[in-house]
């Protein structure tokens, strides 16, 4: 019981967020939206980690969260840089049009 809310609620919320992220990644074509969905998945996991960390009175989970946030920040920096270069070169960030690897 965290702040009067049962742990199941946290799990549900985090699962819903994660699935929204997965569906977003799979269904959307705009690279920035996909990127945001990836962040959503990461934060769904973060939420779960923090919830369990408080439940078990164990700080390890929170340490993980800090790491994930740091890595996510770095990833965003690199990812957005790539995207801006892609946009400059192709004038689009629609992933279905970025199929140069084929042939």
């Amino acid at each position: 019981m965290l702040n009067g809310i049962p742990i199941n609620f946290y799990i549900m919320l985090s699962a819903v967020l994660f699935i929204i992220g997965v569906v977003g990644v799979m269904a959307r074509r705009n690279a920035i939206i996909i990127f945001m969905c990836v962040e959503l998945m990461l934060n769904a996991v973060n939420l779960l980690l923090v919830a369990f960390s408080t439940l078990h009175q164990d700080a390890n989970g929170q340490v993980f969260v800090f790491f994930i946030m740091a890595v996510a920040a770095a990833e965003v920096a690199v990812g957005l840089a790539i995207l801006s270069m892609v946009y400059r070169n192709f004038k689009t960030i629609d992933i279905d049009l970025l199929s140069r690897l084929k042939n």
Partner: protein, 628 residues
Amino acid sequence: MIKLVALIPLFPLLGFLINGFFGKKISKGLSGAIASVSVLASFVVALLIFFELEHSAVKTHVVTVFSWINSDTLKIPFEFLVDPLSSLFLLIITGIGFLIHIYSMGYMHDDEGFARFFTYLNLFVFFMLLLVLGNNYLIMFVGWEGVGLCSYLLIGFWFKNTEYNNAAKKAFIMNRVGDLGFLLGIMLIFVTFGSITYGDVFSIASSGNEATVTAIALLLFIGAMGKSAQLPLYTWLPDAMAGPTPVSALIHAATMVTAGIYMIVRSNVFYSMSEVASETVAVVGVATALFAATIGLFQNDIKKVLAYSTVSQLGLMFLGLGVGAYSSSVFHVTTHAFFKALLFLGAGSVIHAMGGEQDMRKMGGLWKHLPITGKTMALGTLAISGFPFLSGFFSKDEILAHTYEHSPVLWFFGMVTSMLTAFYMFRLFFLTFFGKFRGTHEQEHHLHESPGSMTMPLIVLAILSVAGGLLGLPEFWHQTNWISEHLSPIIMHKSPSTLPHDTEWMLMGIATFSALTIIYIAYVIYMQRNIRPLPEGAKMPFIQRVIYNKYYVDELYNAIIRKPLDAISGILHKYVDEQIIDGIVNGVGTTVNGISSVVRKAQTGHIGVYIFSMVIGIVLILFFTFIK
């Protein structure tokens, strides 16, 4: 001084390195001088060691140079052995080697490969010294292979001639057959006795059972057959005459081809234990002696006659080994080294004067043009024919006397061989030096005695050929036979001669009488009746034609070994190589191509597809991890 024995092989090795690396940069005279001096230095050391050994009470000295192979049960130190046998061989190799180096400086003077020639020659001397100096079979084997390599390099010295290259390859490949036997013999020795160091092996050899010892002895003898050109592996030696004549004198007459005899004398304990092996050696020896001597009768190439003569004389030495007369064989090795080197060098001098011509049908009357060569060759011919009191007389007589004691039948064949030897040698001598000159006018103008660097070795060798018999005067002359005394410490089972003295006198009488008769017959045929060998392609009686064509042995080997091998190789090439092996290799390539052309379609290039498949993949992994 004996401690410094490592110097002996070191000098020629240094000479080899200097000539090998800088031969092209230094003058011909300097490179020849370096090579000769290095062998001379070895000779001096060998001489000092020889006399020190002669005066020392201990006859066997082992000098460890370094620890070589050291692995669990296999311990092979790099050791040199100085004993009566090796010290004698050291003198022959370095002494005659030095004379031949001097001779080569004259003979090879105009050759563009001068420095290369001396490089090989020094390397040869190094390996030959290693062969006789080693204290175990492995060092002997290293030397054995090394001299084989040098022999190959020197036979094919004039490598622009394909025929010479083929002769070199033939020598190398034939020797491989023998070397395999030798190698197996060494392995069997190690497996049986747990060591390959001479002293260890020979001291416990009597503990081996007879079958194993016979197998060892026979395997070693196969090695000797290859190196010392015995039936059936002899055909490389006559072809080896393709090399420059000093090479024929040094390698294919005086030293390398006697390595087989050295090896058997060294391993005499095995042969004296095994009746079968000794008999085999004796029979192969006498068969080779007789066989090669008959071929020598009708050869027209001056070097080929000498080559068959060498094969035949080596056969006689093996006959001596087979009947247990080890010291007599070594005696014959020594005297043979003197007179055969002399004859080869003399032949080289003749060839030099004739401008490269080797066919005796084009020679004749050279006596007045080449006085020194003629006289020295006369002495060599007399020595090899067994003319009384010259070196060959004593050594051959000793072998034949021991053979008579062992088996009169073998003695008879040995005697016939020595009569044939006298005949073909005098045929060679008369055809070359007497009668009318049969070459071209150009050649006749060109005729000249060879320079001093070539005649000096001839004179020294002639003196040795005459006086060499003093090394082993027969015991029944109430003399000490120096050479058999000298070698007695290394012969394990001595069988003192029980032949009555009058029998020995009789044998000597027969030998002398037959030699003189044969010389007279040769004189009548080639001097009085002026009979000349038939020109190429002339009709000959059947037997003469067979012998002239060397009994068609080369053709026989071609038919039963080379042709089937070619055919099998052809089949293997066509079916195994081109179809099976190439099929597998190409099949691997085609399969990979085929699979990848299918799998490649999965790589659509659409990022959406990749993400989708990634998600599916993760879901599947999770599914199988948690649902299991």
